[in-house]
């Protein structure tokens, strides 16, 4: 993954010089370890700041919504699926985009790594298989595979599904992963246990809406949480309102979520709200044989009707 950067810079410089795009969306090094930030290169000189390593977990598709200019964008497997979803939902046109595909081997879970050390992490150095975490008075080498984001460790679409350029050879897709172990465990709980589980899960939520803002699917001009006439959900910390926000947000992502993990990654208190979107992802797969963002020419299950749609729940 680390060798991609030369190719990324080469392609980006070419695109900008030829005037095929007005800007390239990628990543530059962040100000703290394990936090790369989005970078918008509008000239070949700005391309120099691009980086690529295992800290590029933000979903860049989020920056495409309703753009009018021609854009080059770096896309991991999940980003590319969200781009497809954006095209389906008319949030961007395919011919506006030059998609620079980046085969991905997973992104690091910065929260998991930070939790392993008591002191503050000063630097993280990465090679193809390991990372070396350095801080004041300590240094430790970890295997990348063991500290990946959970969604990356069960990812089955690592290669971009749509791209114009590719910065490296496609990586091997994981086939032996069980994506829904956690969802099945929750499904098996009796109703009152489920309620307790969700209350405990969401108890730390401060309603900052970082999960919503990091999500490329959440592009409504006015989110239902911000509506005041009518006020669909109150803004306080009441557990009912907090759950309502998370349940509703998840339902708005049904059949669209690619499990890119941007929501969980952005959460300042570390809530795994992906259990909700994953449950809906599992339902879509089982009921409609649907995985989001694989083909721009297929309409998603929630805006199509097929006579074979499951209807056993109607008595």
């Amino acid at each position: 993954m680390l060798s991609y950067i030369d190719k990324i810079k080469e392609i980006s410089t070419g695109l900008l010089k030829e005037g095929r795009v007005e800007m390239i969306i990628g990543f530059r090094k962040g100000t703290v370890p394990m936090m790369n930030e989005p970078h918008f290169a509008k000239s070949p000189a700005e391309v120099e700041n691009f980086v690529w390593d295992s800290n590029c977990g933000i979903n860049l598709c989020n920056y495409l919504t309703n753009r009018r200019e021609k854009i080059g964008i770096l896309a991991k497997g999940c980003d590319s699926r969200n781009i497809v979803t954006h095209i389906i939902e008319n949030k961007i046109k395919r011919d506006q985009l030059v998609i620079i595909g980046v085969p991905c081997k997973g992104m690091l879970d910065k929260r998991k790594i930070s939790a392993m050390f008591e002191a503050e992490i000063g630097e993280v150095i990465e090679d193809e298989t390991n990372i070396t975490v350095k801080g004041d008075g300590f240094e430790k080498t970890l295997n990348k595979k063991e500290v990946l984001q959970q969604n990356c460790s069960v990812c089955i679409h690592r290669n971009p599904v749509i791209h114009d350029e590719l910065v490296g050879d496609p990586v091997e897709e994981q086939t032996d992963v069980d994506r829904y172990t956690d969802v099945r465990e929750i499904e098996a709980l009796p109703p009152e246990e489920k309620t307790k589980y969700f209350e405990k899960l969401l108890q730390p939520c401060i309603r900052c809406y970082a999960c919503r803002n990091a999500c490329p699917l959440c592009y409504c001009p006015t989110c239902f949480t911000d509506e005041s006439r009518p006020q669909w959900v109150a803004k306080g910390q009441d557990p009912t309102d907090v759950s309502t926000f998370h349940f509703l947000r998840a339902y708005h992502c049904a059949g669209r979520c690619t499990d890119c993990g941007a929501c969980e990654r952005s959460c300042p208190v570390g809530i795994n709200m992906r259990v909700f979107t994953k449950k809906l992802e599992k339902d879509c797969l089982e009921l409609f044989d649907w995985e989001a963002g694989l083909d721009p020419n297929v309409r998603p299950p929630l805006d199509t009707y097929r006579p074979s749609d499951p209807d056993e729940f109607i008595k």
């Binding site: 109703p191 309620t195 109150a234 759950s243 109607i314 008595k315």
Partner: protein, 49 residues
Amino acid sequence: MGIESDRLQFSWVSSAEATKFVKVVTEVTKAIQALGPNKNLVKTIPKVA
């Protein structure tokens, strides 16, 4: 979401199917009475004087 499966039921009833409507309502009412009052996602709003 922690809602009992019997508490939420779906049914197609045409305006001409009065007997089906009665049957559905009776059954749903019975099922929900058996479950008792809903305690999930219920918000208690403090009374203001």
